[in-house]
Assembly symmetry: C2
Homo-oligomer: 358 residues x 2
């Protein structure tokens, strides 16, 4: 069966300010030592398994030009610009009907555009297993990352330890859990039956659309209308009117948590969701002094720092655990332990109408 | 008797990098909330007591244009550009003979160009006393700051507690001490007979030149030749050849420590030598969060920081005791406790030939 991919690239993250901006979010940034952006790396990574003409990008109008510029190999008609942000279920539903219209039934791989994978060969191997499992069983398959810490920044997936691994090593899912508090996360980690929710899904378009019809029937009705209009003169008009009527809900909560046919494949391939500047420190190599540095930087007695320079020379003297991000119009200096408060800078700038900096 | 001032402005400090540069040292910077530079403030401060045409500026050729631009009221011929840096004794000697040539004997006030004074009225009062004492006694008078901490960054002056204060409250000096180590500084502070050396001197030109003749006779010989050439066609040539022959020595060590006729006037007028970025934190008002900020700065959970912004917005998140100085081509981020290591950045830049940043 044909394999197609939907890459979700509508996010407007604020945690990478000042590099990420409303008009230039994280997925379009280069945050690793590579010269490829997050979304380019996502496409590069899946290309050994999916042809470029079978890759769909779900985003919004503000980012259409960024997608075209960064991913010239993706056909124009595969760029799905949502009229309104509606969380992941409507986005995935639209991708699924677009694929059904084009291919009939197909294997659909859903991928975030802003995660990193350090071992692409393992990633391909896991994806092949997941595709085989989903194709053989009609199940909804997701990838779960064995947790290495009680991280409170991820959702968790509880799997049924009693369930024999199905084909290809997948376990039946018992529960999708939201981001936990630290105590709960520690319990999840200690119990050994929770995985991090990677946000990657593998299923047949027929399987996900059947589940949408069952659990989100109103949304499904709009999706059928959108599908019928694809390729007709009314396509854009129908999309605009129908898409915004859909219920805004995540696929985790709207489908995965309710469906009876959900499996999770434990997967390790050097995954990181690059949720904050701290991740840039984790995923990039450190220099002799223990700093992760990009740009023209002079260091004196400084360690465990993360620096993203821009055009000017940066001198660091006597710093520990400090994040420095320079851009042409804004500079961030932040202690690592306060990385979660960077969004407060964005809130302040918004409150005082400094829109040029958002 | 005529009162004239010599302002010493030849320093090439590196402790205010990246704002201070080889071609733009500290005395030409604005480091307070005022819009006047250090040297402009020094001139403003003495103007109620000395006419502009009686103010001499000792500097070097690299800074002649800066002096002209920042101090247009000072006559061109009063800008003394030393052919070579020779420490303070030759510099002061040249100023003294220039004044002797112009005025005959005169009261000479020697001032650093890069210190601040928070209470100018007290400063004027102290200077008037010092001038009166020096005029009446022929003594070399210096101003000593009663120490408020065991500061190891200043030289100290030990005064003779037995000596009755002479006219106008001056004490006879026992000893000029170099910058002490911390233990010594604590002892100085506890003993109550040490003052900080402010580097400000008041004397008759005849008095200082008489002492120079006695204690630095070779230098004095060159000074007499320089004086004789002032206003002649050979002036510049004689200056060049004679000045560089002088022994490089400080007036403290070359004259003050040896002379038998030295007095110190204890003086409090909110003095600070602005020796590092830490001083900018001391002498400028702090905001509600305890930060000293210049420029467009957004603060989240940050305190006791010193920020000198430039053109771009700076966001500080979760910082304590951090110094941030932005300039068009270089950015410094430094912990307060490492402010003394900023010169190491300059050393590194010099070692790798980044002259554009020096």
């Amino acid at each position: 069966m044909k394999t197609a991919a939907l890459i979700m690239a509508g996010g407007r993250g604020e945690r990478f300010w000042p590099k990420s901006r409303k008009r230039f979010p994280k997925q379009f940034l280069t945050l690793t030592n590579s010269d490829r952006t997050m979304i380019q790396s996502t496409v590069d990574r899946i290309l050994p398994m999916v042809n470029p003409e079978d890759i769909f990008i779900a985003t919004n109008r503000d980012y259409r030009e960024l997608v075209r510029k960064q991913l010239p190999q993706i056909p124009e008609e595969n760029i799905l610009c949502e009229p309104e942000a509606k969380n992941t279920a409507p986005c995935i539903g639209w991708g699924a009907v677009a694929m059904r219209k084009k291919y009939g039934d197909a294997m659909m791989v859903v991928l975030p555009s802003d995660h990193i994978v350090l071992q692409p060969l393992l990633y391909h191997s896991v994806l092949r297993n997941a595709i085989a499992a989903a194709e053989e069983t009609d199940a909804l398959v997701t990838l779960g990352i064995p947790p290495s810490s009680p991280n409170t920044g991820y959702g968790y997936i509880q799997f049924d330890t009693e369930s024999l691994p199905g084909g290809h090593g997948a376990f039946r899912v018992k529960h999708f859990a939201e981001k936990p508090d630290l105590e709960t996360a520690k319990r999840y980690l200690a119990g050994g039956e929770y995985l991090w929710n990677s946000g990657m899904f593998i299923w047949k378009t027929s399987a996900i659309l059947r589940e949408m019809q069952e659990y989100l029937p109103e949304n499904y009705e709009e999706l059928v209308a959108i599908e019928a209009a694809i390729g007709t003169p009314a396509e854009q008009e129908i999309l605009e009117s129908r898409f915004i009527r859909m219920k805004s809900i995540s696929v985790d909560y709207g489908i995965m948590e309710r469906s009876k046919n959900v499996y999770v494949l434990p997967a390790s391939f050097g995954w990181d969701d690059v949720g904050s500047w701290l991740a840039v420190g984790r995923i990039n190599p450190t220099n002799d002094m223990g700093n992760v540095i990009k740009g023209d930087v002079v260091t004196v007695n400084s360690t465990r720092c993360i620096v993203q320079g821009d055009r000017k020379t940066i001198a660091m003297v006597g710093l520990e655990d400090i994040i420095i991000v320079d851009t042409p119009d804004a500079l961030l200096v932040c202690s690592k332990e306060s990385a979660g408060d960077i969004k407060r800078v964005v809130e302040i700038l918004r409150a005082v109408n400094r829109t040029e900096l958002l």
